[in-house]
Amino acid sequence: MMKAMRTLKPLFLAPLLLTTLLVPGADKPSVRVGSMDSVGPRAVEKQTQLSIVRDYLLAWQSLARALAQNRPASLDDSFTGIARDKLADTIREQSKLGFQTHYRDTTHNLQVIFYSPEGLSIQLLDDVEYDIELYEKGKLLGTQHVRSRYLSVLTPTESKWKVRIFEAQPLEQRLAKGDQRLHERKHQSYPWGFAA
């Protein structure tokens, strides 16, 4: 954990819009994190920036472990609420149907887009690439490389941030929305909110 924190730290100190982090090790995903300096309406403190990225990436590990082993309990450290319920349902269904899925995330491109005024939820987009392997009775049935965008909402718990909403968006939609968002941000800081 501390090693991961040390690795991530320089990322937020750099005054660049986007910083690239290549985590050493063949199994570790490469992670890019967009600047959080202009996320609103609440400013994201440095410590929170580190925690969010760390806990979100850990959530992917929990997800992969839970789906590979068909163990919903592995989700508990990183997921809560709707996200936990839905993922646990998926695992139970997988187990019932007699197969497993192995997820290996290879790339994350993270962008925090909303931090609520009271600090109780933070929303991020992740352009993620991962490989998915389908196993039935120990036999590999197929592999796919996936590129997708995940929208996640994290909420603070006693010791860490947990993923409460975890939902993928379609490719075409995200491109169109991305263009629109850039356009909107030229005009106002937080087009989806209204300050008194």
Binding site: P117, S121, Q144, V153, Q169, Q173, W192
Partner: protein, 290 residues
């Protein structure tokens, strides 16, 4: 002769390619709305198994290649990115598709903070709404969300916000009148209400009166109010101080029914002052009468 052989091999390759395309085709709509029926077309022959997998849901269906596979509204309703694998028979193929949220809001997750605050606080109340469809998918399509903050006998504050990536938020001012405020968020036909208690602010003015009561003087404040005229809550401490011949004595009294009362020794020439919080009230010098 060589030309004919080349022509034949090209034709054979084309035929083989076409055959492969026909037998391994798996046609899935690239995007399916949650809660709607859809079907997947297959080509080829023989029995196979279709696996649909994603973090949000999984399915496994025994299928007969060449037939259409029908899915009902409840079969795949969690929004997300899915991988489909077709295995067995004459086919072995995998494709990807998306299930997108319904556009119709069904539930709102409405977080209003704080639950209690002083009146007349600019931007003191925040409301955050996450919008979900009937299957608890976050609706990422923009939605109009209206926020209304109302206290009885005062005009409501209204803000309308367009959601972005499933969330809409607002900051509003607390009203000048103390009491319970209804904070309501509405998206489509769905509404959620929260109650926010708006309490009086700090005391604004403080005035006491004195009445001679034999060897003692009876002190009583006027009703203590904030700068908007709201009564300051009972229990707020008011401090009476008497200074006489270089000695000082103080009495702390909680407000009861809006006023503070006490008695102090009636020393001729004593100076009595009153204060609460950061507000200093009037002073009274005892000179026989007052």
């Amino acid at each position: 002769m060589r030309c004919l052989r080349t022509l034949l091999s090209v034709a054979l390759a084309a035929a083989t390619s076409l055959s492969a395309a026909q037998t391994s085709s798996l046609r899935i709509p690239p995007r399916v709305e949650a809660g709607t029926s859809f079907s997947i077309e297959t080509r080829g022959s023989g029995a196979a198994v279709l696996y649909i997998v994603g973090p949000a849901d999984v399915l496994r269906r025994n299928v007969q290649l060449g037939e259409s596979i029908a899915f009902g509204p409840d079969d795949l309703h969690n929004a997300g990115h899915y991988s489909a694998f077709l295995r067995g028979g004459s086919a072995s193929e995998s494709v990807q598709f998306d299930v997108v949220p319904s556009h119709q809001p069904e539930t709102l997750s409405f977080l209003a903070k704080p639950s209690r605050l002083p009146v007349d606080l600019s931007g003191g109340i925040s409301g955050v709404v996450y919008i979900f469809d009937a299957f608890r998918n976050l609706i990422i399509q923009p939605q109009q969300v209206s926020f209304v903050l109302s206290v009885s006998d005062t005009p409501p504050q209204t803000r309308t916000v367009t959601s972005h990536e499933g969330v809409a938020w607002v900051k509003m001012n607390s009203a000048s009148r103390a009491g319970l405020a209804n904070f309501q968020a509405t998206a489509g036909n769905v509404e959620e209400k929260r109650i926010i208690q708006q309490v009086a602010g700090n005391p604004c003015r403080l005035r006491m009166n004195a009445r001679n009561s034999g060897a003692r003087v009876a002190l009583e404040t006027d009703p203590v109010r904030d700068c908007s005229g709201n009564p300051v809550p009972d229990g707020t401490i008011v401090t009476f101080t008497e200074t006489y011949a270089g000695n000082q004595s103080t009495v702390d009294v909680p407000l009861k029914r809006g006023v503070a009362k006490t008695e102090l020794p009636a020393h001729k020439g004593a100076l009595i002052s009153v204060a609460t919080g950061v507000v200093l009230g009037n002073e009274i010098r005892l000179s026989g009468g007052q």
